[in-house]
């Protein structure tokens, strides 16, 4: 196992270097200069001197060709320094720390809801397999799964925030947030979070229920299920204990593959709801050509993706003793 892990991590480092190199090259070849964008956004009465601009460029390695500047960036990262954002004048790590909370609030709520709801739904579907009510609910779940989240977000905004004044249209807090009591603050954020959570939950809910049903059907055809039934185990117990425990394996690996999505947030949903999370930061950094921030985020996403894959493989071996990486 240890050799396997070491090999995977080393391989992962190679992949990581390739990925960051590729991304660095790509974003540096995008037209537009972050220093110029920054200078344009500053107070026009204060004319920034050319030397200052040049000094700024030099400090971000923008005066060098990108493949040289890349190694500058790698050197800093190796020392634990992700650099400072050009457009926001803040360390990238602090920006990420600021934005990760709102994203986690959405994604963890949505993930918890997904698991709580999809397991009973999936079990229900496998019990009633082939019956009319199961067919209808499965079809509905499939339809839901195909419903684009950003279209749903717009529809919900129109229904709940524009036509009726039930929920706030966007943002995470109201304007009077600072003056609210603690309970009021929680309630305020919860009200703002309802629509984004719904939009990021229903798709994965449908996907997971279908997934559980499919793996359950596969498991229910196994010999040991027939044995359990033959020796007189109650049908509910067969389902919950004998069958469901084995569908946990793919469910656990799915959790590993979800890891990057949990932390990176959804660009489009955060954009629609003006939710101050990671996805939105990423989107803004790209439009501002803010290289250090884009690179910091991309590095984080890639590490998470690779770690998630590794985690999935390791968990696979943990929950299924038949698999070993010797």
């Amino acid at each position: 196992m240890t050799t396997y892990l070491v090999r995977r991590v080393l391989l992962g480092l190679v992949t990581l270097t390739l990925i960051t190199f590729l991304i660095y090259g790509l974003i540096r070849s995008m037209p537009g200069d972050p220093v110029a964008i920054f200078a344009g956004s500053e107070d026009p009465s204060k004319k920034i001197k050319q030397e200052d601009l040049d000094r700024m460029r030099a400090s971000y390695g923008l005066d060098k060709p990108w493949y040289q500047a890349y190694f500058l960036w790698v050197g800093n990262v190796a020392q634990g320094d992700l650099g400072r954002s050009i457009s926001r004048k803040q360390p990238v790590t602090r920006l990420i720390a600021e934005r990760i909370g709102p994203t986690l609030l959405l994604s963890i709520t949505s993930l918890t809801l997904t698991y709580i709801l999809s397991i009973p739904l999936g079990l229900y579907a496998s019990v009633r397999s082939g019956k009319a009510d199961e067919r209808i609910s499965s079809t509905l779940l499939f339809v839901l799964y195909s419903f684009p989240a950003f279209v749903a977000a717009l529809f919900l905004q129109i229904e709940f925030a524009v036509r009726n004044d039930w929920l706030p249209l966007f943002g995470m807090v109201s304007d009077n947030y600072a003056s609210l009591s603690f309970g009021g603050k929680v309630w305020d954020i919860a009200r703002h979070a309802i629509l984004p959570v719904v939009c990021s939950t229903y798709g994965s809910l449908a996907y997971y229920s279908r997934f559980i049903r499919a793996t359950m059907q596969e498991t229910l055809r196994q010999d040991y299920i027939r044995t359990a039934r033959a020796k007189g185990v109650a049908p509910g117990r067969v389902l919950a204990v004998h069958a469901f425990r084995n569908t946990l394996i793919p469910l656990v690996t799915l959790l590993g593959l979800m890891l990057p999505a949990v932390l990176s947030g959804s660009v489009i949903l955060e954009q629609i709801f003006s939710w101050p999370g990671m996805g939105r930061l990423f989107f803004e950094a790209i439009s501002e050509r803010d290289y250090p921030t884009i690179m910091g985020l991309a590095l984080m996403f890639s590490i998470l993706t690779l770690a998630g894959q590794l985690l999935a493989d390791v968990l696979y071996a943990v929950v299924d003793p038949r698999i070993s990486y010797q």
């Binding site: 190679v14 992949t15 390739l18 990925i19 590729l22 991304i23 790509l26 974003i27 070849s29 995008m30 037209p31 537009g32 079809t139 499939f142 339809v143 799964y145 195909s146 419903f147 684009p148 950003f150 279209v151 717009l154 529809f155 905004q157 129109i158 925030a161 524009v162 036509r163 249209l169 059907q217 055809r221 990176s264 660009v267 489009i268 954009q271 629609i272 990423f282 989107f283 790209i286 884009i294 991309a298 996403f301 890639s302 993706t305 690779l306």
Partner: protein, 365 residues
């Protein structure tokens, strides 16, 4: 077709080929068939768009010659220059009558234009399109009008072509790259395999939005064709992985060894011997990929990274709707169009999956 079949196997199997059987199974699934009809309907709408909604005659006789001005909706230069020369200014009904009383014309079903507002008195008995916030759906504007008075229905009908082309072209590119790389990796194995596998891993890990946005930003002027290419070259990894797995399995098969033994070349073995046998499981993610390509294009256009106007893509319509959420019809109809297109392709993919996977087929019985 090339699978080695012993006489016993021939008796045991049905007399139909694999694809006949798959089609027979597919046809049994009502929802999948419905989805297939819907996609065929969309293709029809896309091709016949200028005949359904337009302001240019399909056929007209003008000064003794027959013209087909509606062709201008496909390619602008296909609209005969005689109309520009005679100062029609894109308004046909009145000008035809005034400049040639003898003329006649066959008109599209609806007199509405996807690129401009229809003004008062242009078409007899039809008022001009409302502008601003008052463009609710009505009998003249089935799906309403946007703030500048352009008909939403006409834009959606003309945008169907974009949605379908995005699906087919970008997924075609993705499939070509994915199948080729996956096949080469799986068939040859060794260092070629590890190289390609690493490449797949890298492309999978790069956040697709970075890749897509960077590629869009590098291009000077983005057209819808660029978008299709970009979606294609970022979306091939899933197909490549599956193809690779299939080839890893099939290259050990006896018919491959047999083909190699009688001197068939590598390229021929890959594409003519193994690929037909590996195609069924690969087709499923390709179909799902068409759905996701449509989704990606509409969300990019929605975020404002799409092709610049005039581009009647459904996503562009949606971004227009987002700016005017109180005008619900600007969001509702294009949103449903995207949803139904995605749903249709997903249903077809699901049907294909069930029809070609023997294990699932058994489960249905």
């Amino acid at each position: 077709m090339n699978a080695p079949t012993t006489p016993i196997a021939v008796i045991a199997e049905s007399p139909h080929g694999f694809w006949d059987e798959a089609w027979r199974q597919f046809r049994k699934r009502r929802l999948a068939m419905l989805a297939l009809f819907y996609v065929e309907f969309l293709i029809l709408v896309a091709i016949l768009a200028p005949l359904i909604a337009g302001t240019k005659p399909i056929v007209c006789r003008y000064k003794g010659t027959l013209y087909f001005p509606a062709m201008g909706y496909y390619v602008p230069s296909w609209e005969n220059p005689v109309f520009a020369k005679d100062k029609f200014r894109r308004v046909y009904p009145k000008n035809l009558k005034e400049k040639d009383p003898e003329s006649w014309a066959v008109w599209p079903l609806l007199y509405q234009d996807p690129y401009r507002r229809v003004r008062d008195g242009e078409w007899e008995g039809q008022p001009g399109n409302p502008t601003g916030d008052s463009g609710k759906p009505s009998r003249y504007n089935l799906f309403g009008t946007n703030q500048s008075g352009v008909d939403v229905f006409a834009q959606m009908v003309h945008g169907t072509m974009v949605a379908l082309l995005v699906g087919f072209v970008s997924e075609g590119i993705a499939a070509a790259i994915g199948i080729t790389l996956g096949a080469v990796a799986g068939y040859f194995g060794g260092w070629i395999d590890s190289l390609i596998s690493r490449l797949i891993e890298v492309v999978m890990c790069v956040p697709s939005l970075v890749l897509i946005l960077a590629l869009i930003a590098i291009l000077d002027k983005v057209t819808i064709w660029h978008m299709m290419g970009i979606i294609g070259i970022t979306g091939w990894t899933g197909i490549a992985r599956l193809t690779r797995a299939e080839f890893l399995r099939l290259r050990e098969a006896e018919f491959v060894t047999g083909a190699r033994a009688i001197g068939v070349g590598h390229v021929s073995v890959i594409f003519r011997y193994i690929l037909p046998n590996a195609l069924a499981p690969i087709l499923v993610p390709i179909t799902f990929g068409i759905a996701s390509a449509i989704l990606i294009e509409s969300s990019l256009s929605f975020l404002g990274f799409g092709a610049p106007p005039p581009n009647p893509s459904w996503g562009t319509l949606l971004s227009d709707g987002r700016r005017n959420l109180n005008l619900w019809w600007l969001t509702f109809f294009p949103g449903l169009a995207v949803f139904f297109a995605v749903l249709a392709y997903n249903l077809i993919g699901e049907g294909l999956h069930e029809a070609t996977d023997p294990r699932l087929r058994e489960a249905m019985r």
